[in-house]
């Protein structure tokens, strides 16, 4: 029983928050009419498009991430590897607007690529505005995340397996088929699920880079229903539809998953036997370089815009640094709350799976925790507002509410990143802990924490950086007095101050990178991926 209560508490808190938001919304509106949704032709088109672009983006991101992750796993020590991995954390956490402008600087009509092409007397390429633009942007956001989520799978191969493979004279492709692919099958469904949900709920990217209203996701329809038409019933219906669709995809992905029994090794990590051939080296180098360039160029664009925007005048502004401090505070708070909630749910999952032999309940817990990702932030925000305004003064809650919303939205990442790591320790140490009576808090502290430190570090850093760059919750609950960097950025752009905005974007990027470095090194130890 002791093992279940933190998870139960976390889940209860979540249900209260989200369920309360939905209930509050529903109570202020009429009845729902789900049948009417399907009759709308444009809506059907939107649903199909959303599914299609999300599916294509996911496939592309994962397919591109696999060779890069493999290359990074094989070449485990080259100068700059750790920094590269930290940089991989940035695309996802940037405010979308900044990312779009960065991508446009590189891949746009008058971007670096086209200018280079012009110099070489080539025809200009128009691929940023349209479906291809959406895919490029989604791969930019998700490939780095996928790489970082895939890497630990390689680390979990026991030493003896590599030695055995060496003895049997297995080549690279044998290794992949026999050892690596089965492991990947275990983690890919989870990773693909996260990326699918991210792409499914993509809003600004699809609208801005999509080229026209043919490209629209369900989120746009929800946004329109809630904001423009103030049709709360419809907004709730559409949100529920979104959650249901994603839930279906997650379940399907899970069905494809294969558990791989892992025996852990006490031995020192061994080198793979296939590192020698120069073809492999070249391939790895190309993959890593390709990814670094694809990710690095838009980041460099943001930095160069920041440098060009006369940073001297902006950086001395006190307002900038106050906003930065608030961003850090929100980041830290959101990470802490998300970790607490996540670890609670994961312990409950572990309880259900290992001790009570109820793996399906555990799986449901995991899926529902992840589905939070597809609850539209606008719906969540409005629902929370309605819920809380009856009980408290929402304005006074201010940043606290922003922290709460960001923590809830960061929870799925905690579940997806720390979950697999905790699963591995369960397999190894379940009996031992039972026999010695190591339970609950002791178990977390002494057994799971040390083993999961790198995963916890990555998850905490990711949630923190996401919260720092968040423009959703802060736009809903932000006020004059609790301005974060992201809000400051948004306000500068709205006031025509593009150059100053570019500098703030650069500061935000640096702050996010700093969060990754500090949290991962401090929490994760050894800077291992």
């Amino acid at each position: 029983m002791a093992g279940l209560w933190p998870g139960a508490a976390a889940l209860a808190a979540l249900l209260l928050l989200i369920g309360g938001a939905f209930v509050a919304l529903l109570s202020s509106t009429g009845e729902l009419d789900p049948a009417g949704l399907l009759a709308d032709r444009y809506l059907r088109h939107v649903v199909l498009f959303t599914l299609g672009q999300a599916g294509a983006s996911t496939l592309l991101s994962v397919a591109a991430a696999l060779p890069v992750a493999r290359a990074l796993a094989r070449r485990s020590a080259f100068p700059g590897r750790t920094m590269l991995l930290r940089l991989f954390g940035l695309p996802l956490v940037m405010p979308t607007l900044v990312a779009i402008l960065g991508l446009a600087t590189v891949f746009g009509e008058t971007g670096w690529l086209n200018r280079l092409g012009q110099a070489a007397a080539m025809q200009p390429l128009h691929f940023l505005y349209g479906l291809s633009g959406i895919l490029i942007a989604h791969v930019f956001f998700n490939l780095p995340l996928a790489v970082r989520l895939l890497l630990p799978a390689w680390q979990s191969v026991p030493t003896e397996t590599w030695r055995l493979a060496a003895q049997l004279g297995m080549r690279s492709r044998h290794l992949f088929r026999v050892i690596e692919w089965p492991l990947l099958r275990q983690v890919l469904p989870g990773i693909a699920g996260v990326i699918f949900m991210l792409c499914f709920t993509s809003f600004a990217v699809v609208l801005t880079l999509g080229g026209g209203p043919r490209a629209a996701t369900l989120e746009v329809a929800i946004y329109q229903a809630l904001r423009l038409d103030f049709d709360i019933a419809r907004a709730v219906e559409l949100s529920l539809m979104q959650v249901a669709l994603c839930g279906l995809v997650l379940v399907l992905l899970r069905a494809w998953r294969r558990e791989v029994p892992l025996s852990a090794s006490f031995d020192r990590p061994a080198a793979r036997p296939d590192l020698g051939p120069w073809l492999g080296r070249a391939g790895d180098g190309a993959a890593i370089l390709g990814a670094a360039v694809f990710i690095g160029l838009p980041l460099a664009a943001v930095v160069s815009a920041a440098v060009a925007g006369s940073p001297g005048t902006v950086l001395i502004e006190e307002r900038l640094w106050r906003a930065a401090l608030r961003s850090i505070a929100v980041a830290g708070g959101a990470a802490a709350v998300a970790m607490a909630l996540g670890i609670g749910i994961l312990s409950a999952q572990r309880e259900l799976r290992a001790r009570r032999g109820r793996p399906r309940a555990a799986a449901m817990l995991e899926v529902s925790g992840s589905l939070i990702m597809v609850v539209p932030p606008l719906v969540l925000g409005v629902g929370l507002f309605v819920l809380l305004s009856r009980v408290a003064d929402v304005l006074a809650l201010g940043l606290g509410l922003v922290v709460a919303v960001n923590a809830v939205m960061g929870l799925p990442y905690v579940l997806r990143i720390v979950g697999p790591s905790m699963e591995r320790t369960v397999g190894r140490y379940e009996r031992l802990c039972l026999g010695l009576g190591i339970r609950g808090w002791n178990r977390l502290r002494l057994v799971e924490w040390p083993a999961s430190r790198p995963a916890v570090g990555l998850a905490a850093a990711l949630v923190a950086a996401l919260a720092a760059g968040d423009l959703g919750a802060i736009a809903l609950f932000g006020t004059e007095d609790n301005e974060t960097l992201a809000l400051l950025l948004y306000r500068l752009i709205a006031a025509y101050r593009m150059e100053a905005a570019a500098v703030v974007a650069g500061v935000l990027l640096a702050l996010s990178l700093g969060l990754f470095v500090v949290i991962e090194r401090g929490v994760g130890r050894r800077g291992q991926a």
């Binding site: 779009i100 809630l226 304005l395 006020t479 752009i493 025509y496």
Partner: protein, 352 residues
């Protein structure tokens, strides 16, 4: 808690001649009461104004207006910033009559019909002649505080022959692209939609089909569109006639200009109103009167980059701006009643 209360309570306790404890309790209770009433009499009345985000930002009109009004009224002005005009209306709808807002500032005329229908606004009592607009102002619930015209802003270094009418824009060379905003998610986007509707009437769908070829992309909001425009992604963008003024006045940059259209330009009139549930109705009316006075209006051109509603001196940069030949505007009721179907028509035309 001034000395008056202190000596008063002490003598009262001494006269009662109770025990030590009783004296202290009485002291404490009376001090508490004194603090409450004393505080209440020293505290100025608070006027809460809900407005949109860029209004209260450091470079917006908010800070200066707050300072000026507080001097004049011996009160405290509290701003509550919401994302934009649409969010303002929705926030009010959600809060209903329990809202803390006394003034809602930042709706535009495409929203006023719906706002009036909520029944949450009270008449401002100001004469329509208080303001000078291209048309007479007769709305009893809302008072305008600034206005602007939508316009196609172009980069004069890339566009040598800017379109001189909406027709020329619609039928022009598809290779010369424009960035526009989505009417479902952005006010300028909705403005362009209504503009095309006003000029083309029922032929609007055809116009959009023709224009579609020139559209580089339809962005979520003005920020994305203008950001991409200043990056050079497209030589034209939908913005306001006053946009170039910022670049001229602050950045000394003269390459951006607005294209004057012969059919006229669609207007955006921003208004404010007082809530029916306001706890400071006198103060609210006073604020609205202040709003159409020079003290408020003088700040508008250089902070909000819109036109003032009374005659105040305009900055030099404004003199270089395109002056629309004809202001276009739908009556709020018409805009509200038809918006949904017009947006659907737009979606249909642009999706093929």
């Amino acid at each position: 808690m001034g000395p008056i209360f202190q000596s008063g309570t002490e003598s009262a306790a001494a006269q009662h001649g109770g025990g030590y404890a009783l004296r202290y309790i009485t002291l404490a209770a009376l001090a508490f009461l004194g603090a409450m009433t004393g505080a209440a009499s020293a505290e100025p009345p608070v006027l809460t104004v809900y407005t949109y985000d860029s209004f209260v930002s450091e470079w917006g009109p908010g800070p200066a207006i707050k300072a000026d009004f507080e001097k004049e009224c011996a009160c405290r002005l509290d701003f509550v910033a919401v994302e934009d005009g649409v969010a303002l209306l929705n926030r009010l709808r959600l809060e209903g009559s329990t809202s803390k807002a006394d003034i809602i500032l930042g709706l535009d005329t495409s929203l006023t019909a719906e706002a009036a229908a909520t029944g949450l606004f009270a008449p401002h009592g100001l004469p329509g002649s208080s303001v000078k607009l291209p048309m007479t102002w007769a709305d009893p619930l809302f008072m305008p505080f600034d206005f602007g015209y939508f316009a196609v802003v172009y980069d004069s270094t890339k566009v040598s022959h800017p379109p001189r009418s909406l027709k020329e824009l619609v039928e022009g060379d598809p290779a010369e692209k424009i960035l526009i905003e989505d009417p479902r998610t952005s006010t300028p986007g909705l403005g362009l939609l209504l503009w095309v509707r006003q000029v083309y009437g029922d032929g609007a769908a055809d116009a959009w089909r023709k224009l579609k070829g020139r559209v580089l992309t339809v962005t979520k909001g003005w920020s994305e569109a203008y950001g991409l425009f200043t990056k050079g992604e497209a030589p034209m963008v939908l913005s306001y006639t006053t946009s170039p003024a910022y670049h001229i006045a602050v950045e000394n940059e003269t390459r951006y200009a607005a294209a004057g259209f012969s059919e006229g330009h669609y207007m955006q009139i921003e208004v404010a109103g007082m809530t029916a549930s306001s706890r400071q109705p006198e103060l609210a009316r006073r604020f609205l009167a202040f709003m159409v006075s020079p003290a408020f209006q003088q700040h508008i051109p250089t902070t909000n980059w819109m036109y003032p509603v009374i005659g105040v001196a305009l900055p030099e940069a404004f003199g270089q701006l395109v002056q629309p030949s004809k202001p276009l505007l739908f009556a709020p009721e018409t805009a509200a009643a038809n918006r949904k179907s017009w947006v659907e028509e737009w979606l249909d035309a642009m999706s093929r």
